[in-house]
């Protein structure tokens, strides 16, 4: 048996030997896709039961969801705009996940990034060229966001503080800080009902991609995903991070700088979330205010888990969830369902997809190493 299995000339499971590498490759790649799709279908089925239980038609709802998210060029552009911050906040979860860390405080980095960007831009506006201002805003947002999440990573490694809890506490602290800045030091006296910083002059705003009604944040987000993918898959840092995530002791014995890896990856992750805040300010809101805490940090957690922490998979998942988000208003208007419908759907999908993790490695068909035993 062993000789047979190792001899490429012998056919496996009745297939010609030359096909085997292709089949193996397909089988390994197919596992996350098949299980992921099955999970989404189960989640949608459960959600349909819920919608039936409240006396509405799931078919109408899914149709509206498609129309509102991707049914027209207008809705596609809307979905893409909403996907932009999700790409970045999902990276804030996915990069530390390489090291086995669960960071859930991306929201805090988003709001502080937004405040930092506004605080950087307002004194400069009118004196410094727009492009340079935007670059400085991005740098300020990334530094602040990086420090914020990097702190959670630092505390984890050097003080043993659980990063899930600390990042969450930091996120509440960040929101209080933002309120303090927006209500106090940075408040625009003209903003009465909704305290905000002074608005950015129009020419200092991050514009739209030519030919589209989608701001440049989408391009920045996609680039960040690609850069993250390269860092994880093609550099020694990414490889070392994966080892440290698998077994910290083994990584330390190998002489890997685990502490620096953790601090570096969490800081990079936080800087992406901070950048999301800068984009919110410079492309959508035009000023820093409480709307920055719109829940992008929390939806980003869902996106990252759905994408199994793979930066390239984050791109389609973020666009899909951006579409679901965008269709919320239409569902509310046409079906009389509360806006929380989208939240229920997201929660259901999230639970089922995490539950389906249990099926990985259970099916022999996806594991070429086991094929020979079935002969």
């Amino acid at each position: 048996m062993t000789i047979e299995a190792n001899d490429p000339a012998i056919s496996i499971a009745g297939k010609p030997a030359s096909l085997r590498p292709i089949l193996e490759w397909t089988a390994r790649r197919a596992e996350p896709i098949v299980i992921g799709l099955a999970a989404i279908l189960i989640g949608l089925a459960l959600f349909s039961l819920f919608i039936l239980a409240v006396g509405k038609s799931p078919a109408t709802l899914f149709q509206l969801m498609y129309t509102g998210g991707f049914g027209s060029w207008f809705s596609v552009q809307n979905s893409l705009s909403r996907a932009a911050p999700l790409l970045l906040t999902a990276l804030c979860v996915a990069l530390p996940a390489r090291l086995g860390l669960v960071i859930i405080g991306g929201e805090g980095a988003v709001v502080l990034g937004g405040v930092a960007a506004a605080a950087m831009a307002l004194p400069l506006a009118g004196t410094v060229p727009a492009f340079l201002t935007l670059v400085l805003m991005a740098i300020a947002a990334m530094v602040v966001g990086g420090i914020w999440i990097g702190l959670a990573g630092f505390l984890r490694h050097y003080r043993g503080v659980n990063e899930t809890i600390s990042s969450l506490l930091l996120s509440y602290i960040a929101i209080a800080l933002m309120n303090q800045f927006v209500e106090g030091l940075l408040r625009d006296p003209a903003s009465l009902n909704k305290p905000s910083t002074r608005p950015l002059p129009a020419e200092y705003m991050l514009g739209n991609i030519p030919g589209m009604d989608v701001h440049w944040g989408l391009v920045i987000g996609i680039l960040a995903c690609i850069v993250s993918w390269i860092v994880i898959e093609a550099t020694s840092y990414g490889f070392a991070a994966r080892i440290a995530g698998g077994n910290v002791r083994a990584a330390q014995i190998q002489g890997l700088p685990v502490g620096k890896l953790i601090a570096g990856f969490t800081a990079l992750a936080g800087s992406f979330a901070g950048l999301a805040g800068m984009i919110e300010v410079a492309a959508v809101q035009g000023s820093a205010n409480a709307s920055l805490a719109a829940g992008y940090g929390y939806t980003g957690i869902l996106v990252a888990f759905l994408a199994r922490h793979n930066p390239l998979a984050i791109i389609p998942v973020a666009i899909l969830l951006g579409g679901i988000d965008a269709s919320g208003g239409l569902i509310q208007r046409r079906m009389g369902l509360p806006d929380a419908t989208v939240l229920v759907l997201q929660g259901t999908l999230f639970i089922v997809i995490l539950f389906c993790e249990t099926f990985y490695g259970r099916f022999k068909i996806f594991n070429p190493d086991l094929w020979k035993r079935s002969l």
């Binding site: 506490l169 930091l170 999230f350």
Partner: protein, 308 residues
């Protein structure tokens, strides 16, 4: 302030009153989380359970006119959330921290969805006990008007402290929490114990929610909890998985949370929003001070994924 003759003493009084008023949900959620974590599982979804409990209690109280029935219904709903969490987490490769975040989102979504029609009506409130009758000052009377759930929470903390140490169930819970293998060797089914512990935790967290919607602030809206359910997880670590510690920590949190409004009432408005961050900063500082990179937290259940 001056004409009431209480002046600057209003600040400690307001903090004391605030601590008692604000701490009750923390007491219940953290006691619930202590039971769950003692069994070796963590439930980060208690935030969702708390808010769903608040909505359920409010809705049932509006419909039946009885706040007690509201609390009972919330407990049922919380137990169901706990059972779902406990059942999903028993499968291999399922991460209980991630499932907690997902359950939180699901619970918030369900509460906002089903609670939409209950934002307007007014529910009957939970009864409170007036202990301030001896004083003629209205502030002191108001401060000592304490809800029954606070006393139930305090009694529950004492009872759990005793039960963990002295009962068979407490011992089983601790064994399961410290070592899955040891529990199996004793012929205990760890999954079942964890399922029950998570259900108990969920139902206690939902009482905390019921307090929010039926007593203080006493109405149902979507912003009713500002992370109390999640803070409780940090609070349990701070309290070292000790129920009496949870009670004391909850009072401390409540007091920290009442600091901002108390100072504002005597005219200190500088940095008002920063005082909102006080409980979170306090928790973080205590976590940093008491954690160590080399050994696991003292008193932590061995099988808890949080401390690994």
């Amino acid at each position: 302030m001056e004409e009431t003759g209480i002046g600057i003493w209003g600040v400690p009084l307001a903090i004391f009153a605030g601590a008692i008023r604000v701490s009750t949900p923390f007491i219940f959620v953290s006691l619930g989380e202590t039971i769950t974590e003692r069994s070796g599982r963590i439930n980060l979804g208690l935030e969702g359970t708390l808010v769903f409990g608040a909505m359920t209690a409010y809705a049932v109280a509006v419909m039946t006119g009885s706040p007690t029935l509201g609390v009972l219904a919330a407990m049922m709903a919380g137990a169901i959330f706990g059972v779902i969490h406990g059942w999903i987490c028993k499968f291999p490769k399922v991460n209980d921290i991630a499932i907690g975040i997902a359950m939180m989102q699901f619970g918030l979504g369900m509460a906002f969805f089903l609670g939409k029609s209950f934002i307007q009506p007014v529910a009957p409130k939970l009864p409170s006990i007036a202990l301030g009758g001896w004083s003629s000052m209205p502030q002191i009377q108001a401060a000592l008007n304490i809800n029954v759930l606070f006393f139930i929470g305090a009694a529950l903390a004492l009872f759990l402290f005793w039960a963990f140490k002295n009962t068979r169930i407490g011992l089983i819970l601790r064994v399961v929490g410290d070592s899955t293998d040891a529990a199996r060797a004793m012929g205990i089914d760890p999954d079942r114990i964890r399922l029950l512990a998570t259900a108990a935790g969920g139902s206690l967290a939902a009482i905390g929610g019921a307090y929010l919607s039926l007593y203080y602030p006493g109405s149902w809206n979507e912003g009713i909890s500002s992370g109390q359910g999640l803070m409780a997880v940090a609070l349990v670590i701070f309290a070292r998985w000790n129920p009496i510690g949870c009670f004391v920590a909850a009072l401390l949190f409540g007091g920290a949370g009442a600091l901002g409004p108390a100072l504002q009432s005597v005219g200190v408005t500088q940095g008002y929003y920063l005082f909102y961050a006080a409980p979170y900063v306090l928790t973080l500082i205590i976590l940093i001070a008491t954690s160590s990179p080399t050994r696991s937290l003292a008193g932590a259940p061995g099988a808890l994924s949080l401390t690994k």
